[in-house]
């Protein structure tokens, strides 16, 4: 089994750079991020050691912005193809973040997505769409950009900013609205990265993630919820389910496959993870494959964050049958001191077959690899009973 998934977050253009800057500054152990822009002044707002950056299209724009022209954005990326391509070396998964409607992200993201995929790296684009008040012109440019991006990236997750209004109430100032959107996206990205790169007890198999992304048919939805204090698990799950990006849970119900990442502190308990699993399971259709993973981060003590990526379409490879994976739950509190044994008695399956298995396997359950998880009343019985029952040894 492959260990950590190498994931990089690339922020492109004004909105993307703000999000990755937040990501890099807020956490003591941030994911690998790169800020990519054509505007030298914008990039130099953050110290280089905090925010690794790549200035592109210098020859075209002279280190200034693209002026909101997607065509210039595209040319800028094409001009620096080689430097951009290098970014993807050694990564399994690139998350391209930007705001559509402007110049650079709208024009350059499709180019970058293609470069990522050419390097054998999966490309997920996480893009915001303009608020209504930003005007019709911007909206139409964003839509054109989204279309181009959907053709280029493995999955595009569009986050319409307008949907945030419902969450914020009417009297929020514009600057604050943008900032809140950035906070939400950066927290979600952090959780996703923790899950992939620093897997907890329930890691995700890259093959599973890949199957989800490859099968998603280009479109995904995204949700994030955070909770703190005693009822944090339920609170986080409720906020997630009420998340405007998921249209109050509707997109979750319609989703064909769902990836759930739960990030919590060292104090996160099995019961909490279990509760979250149940709540999310309850919001999806019973037959929807659900990949669930947890990660533990001391920085999250007292809090829980849940990130959901939902594929609106999902199809298994035509060579085989989809095996349903249900929510698997593990207790981060009882992780043994050393990694569990990973004996391979069963035969190694080929990559092609692996892609068909969409089951979250808590680590240490390799014994049951290749077989359907034993699930009774939403509980994965493959996980040792003493752990699910929180029995101390």
């Amino acid at each position: 089994m492959k260990g950590a998934i190498q994931l990089a977050v690339l922020g492109v253009g004004h909105a993307g750079i703000h999000i990755v800057a937040r990501l890099a500054a807020e956490w003591s152990e941030p994911p690998p991020v790169v800020a990519i822009g054509s505007d030298r002044a914008l990039l130099s707002q953050w110290p280089e050691e905090v925010l690794p950056r790549l200035l592109i299209g210098d020859a075209l724009t002279g280190g200034r912005s693209t002026g909101g022209d997607p065509e210039i954005g595209r040319q800028v990326a094409e001009a620096d193809r080689a430097r951009l391509q290098n970014l993807f070396n050694g990564y399994d998964l690139a998350v391209l973040v930007g705001g559509l409607g402007g110049g650079l992200a709208t024009g350059a993201l499709p180019v970058m997505a293609r470069l990522a995929r050419a390097s054998g790296c999966l490309a997920i684009a996480l893009v915001t769409l303009p608020f209504d008040f930003e005007g019709e012109y911007r909206r139409r440019r964003a839509e054109t950009g989204l279309q181009a991006l959907q053709e280029a990236a493995d999955v595009v997750v569009a986050l319409p900013n307008q949907k945030l209004f419902r969450l914020m109430g009417g009297d929020v100032r514009v600057a604050e609205a943008f900032e809140r959107a950035d906070v939400m996206v950066s927290h979600a990205l952090y959780c996703l990265w923790r899950l992939m790169a620093r897997p907890g007890l329930m890691g995700l198999d890259f093959a599973d993630v890949r199957a989800l992304i490859k099968g998603a048919g280009g479109i995904g939805a995204f949700g994030y919820g955070e909770g703190s204090g005693s009822g944090r698990a339920v609170q986080a799950a409720q906020r997630l389910l009420e998340s405007p990006y998921l249209e109050s849970g509707r997109l979750l119900h319609e989703a064909e496959a769902v990836l759930v990442s739960v990030t919590g502190g060292t104090d996160m308990t099995l019961a909490e993870v279990d509760e979250i699993g149940r709540l999310i399971r309850g919001a999806t259709r019973a037959e929807t494959p659900l990949l669930m993973g947890t990660s533990v981060d001391p920085a999250w003590d007292g809090k829980i964050g849940i990130t959901v990526l939902a594929a609106e379409r999902w199809k298994a490879d035509s060579t085989g049958q989809l095996r349903l994976g249900l929510d698997s739950i593990g207790s981060p509190a009882s992780v043994p001191a050393s990694p569990p044994p990973q004996e391979r008695e069963g035969p190694e399956r080929s990559e092609g077959q692996r892609e068909l298995t969409l089951a979250a396997r808590p680590r240490g359950l390799d014994r049951f690899k290749g077989s359907e998880p034993t699930v009774e009343n939403g509980e994965n019985l493959d996980i040792p009973t003493f752990m699910r029952r929180n029995v101390s040894l």
Binding site: P336, P347, R367, T374, L381, T385
Partner: protein, 414 residues
């Protein structure tokens, strides 16, 4: 030398492949003349996940049994298990229209066919149609109805069915050898046939076959099979729990389970430490006996409670013969005591009974399924031998008898 063709029982289990060859004697008894057991690979939770590896083990086991029995195996009866196997009751009723109001054998056949017309989704295949009892005019419950009077005849049957594709995987594997598959039978039913006496079936008994990958169960209550099913939890889970709890290899975990495992914690010695020597990739470590047994206890406690929940509430007088544990897991220390505590019923360990010949080798709960499968194969052979009408006649004539000592078993459906 018997003039009947040998009955060959094949079980492709998660832990082992077992083959038993039985030869029918002129006095009707069955002599076991060949037997073999091989490690099973490529099977998880009772289902084949790697055909080639599993097939190699099956081939070895068959060859060994052929040599032992001095026969050429051409056809086998195959036991199947897995969580996809379920059971349900179905019933149908017909009006009795004859002037006399007398129920005939033709009426019994008609109502049987009506139950069998039950629609199943195309991905399900019926393994067994088991007639349970007739109800005449909604009130009289009888094992057979022909010859009685009434205006409405109802038949209740237990239908054991499984996922078509998964049932066919082991059958295809066997056909590739190439061998003919005479019939498929649910492993839990075979185990019950293998270890139960007619008296136990009559008094009511729960049979739990604790396998390596699955736990099959079958409940006889009120002289009929009330429940049958399979849970994808087995000895592998116990081993995995141990290896996970103490970060030891599967091999060490298996050894700990066999040598020191118990379903109840030995409180007096719980602090005793067990040393697990270092092995490739794992450090040397010590494990407290109490911790080991706690891990096992939790798993077995959960498993029995799941079965208890599945079979539902039954008054004690319906299960007078209590619980019979069989399968390899029945050899776990104190598993009998734990089952008694949870089911609140007397509990015994079931070993194969009612066969002659190599019974010394078969005399182990692990071989309940193959032993029962030989009996099942014999049952089918007897029926095949009989002509069509004789078969019907005998079947109906013997229903009363069989219902008293356990239900008659129908051949494969589908």
């Amino acid at each position: 030398m018997s003039h009947y063709p040998p009955i060959v029982a094949l079980e492709i289990g998660t832990t082992k492949v077992a083959v038993a060859v039985g030869e029918k004697q002129s006095d009707g008894s069955i002599l076991v003349t060949g037997f073999s057991r091989e490690e099973s690979k490529g099977v998880r939770k009772g289902e084949i996940i790697d055909v080639d590896t599993a097939q190699a083990g099956v081939r070895r086991a068959l060859t060994a049994a052929e040599e032992g029995a001095q026969v050429d195996i051409e056809r086998v009866c195959l036991a199947v298990s897995g969580s996809h196997i379920r059971s349900e009751h179905h019933q149908a009723a017909i009006p009795i229209t004859s002037e006399t109001g007398l129920i005939t054998e033709a009426d019994e056949v008609a109502v049987t066919e009506l139950v069998k017309a039950t629609h199943f989704p195309p991905d399900r295949e019926v393994l067994h149609w088991i007639p349970l009892h007739y109800t005449i005019d909604g009130e009289r419950v009888v094992p057979r109805a022909a010859g009685m009077e009434g205006s409405r005849l109802e038949l209740r049957m237990l239908i054991i069915h499984g996922d078509r594709k998964r049932l066919h995987t082991p059958a295809i594997l066997v056909r590739e050898l190439p061998l003919e598959v005479e019939s498929l039978a649910f492993g839990g039913l075979c185990s019950a046939l293998g270890v139960l006496t007619p008296e136990q079936k009559k008094e009511g008994v729960l049979v739990v076959d604790l396998g390596g990958g699955t736990t099959d169960y079958l409940l006889y209550a009120s002289s009929t099979i009330a429940h049958a099913g399979s849970l994808a939890i087995g000895g592998d889970h116990v081993t995995n729990d141990i290896s996970y709890a103490f970060a030891v290899s599967t091999r060490s975990a298996e050894r700990l389970k066999r040598e020191h495992g118990a379903a109840l914690v030995d409180m007096a010695n719980r602090l005793q430490t067990l040393r697990i020597p270092a092995e490739l990739g794992f450090q040397e470590r010590t494990v407290a006996l109490g911790a080991l047994q706690t891990v096992i206890h939790e798993r077995m406690d959960e498993l029995f409670n799941l079965i208890k929940k599945r079979i539902g509430d039954h008054p004690r007088h319906e299960i007078r013969a209590g619980v019979v544990l069989t399968g390899g897991g029945a050899k776990l220390r104190h598993v009998r005591e734990l089952a008694e505590k949870i089911f609140r019923l007397p509990c015994t360990i079931g070993v194969p009974t009612g066969l002659d010949g190599l019974t010394g080798q078969l005399d182990d709960p692990e071989f309940a399924t193959v032993a029962g499968l030989i009996k099942y194969g014999d049952f089918l052979a007897r029926r095949q031998e009989e002509g069509f009408w004789t078969r019907f006649w005998r079947r109906f004539a013997s229903w009363g008898r069989r219902a008293a000592s356990g239900p008659a078993i129908e051949e494969n459906g589908g």
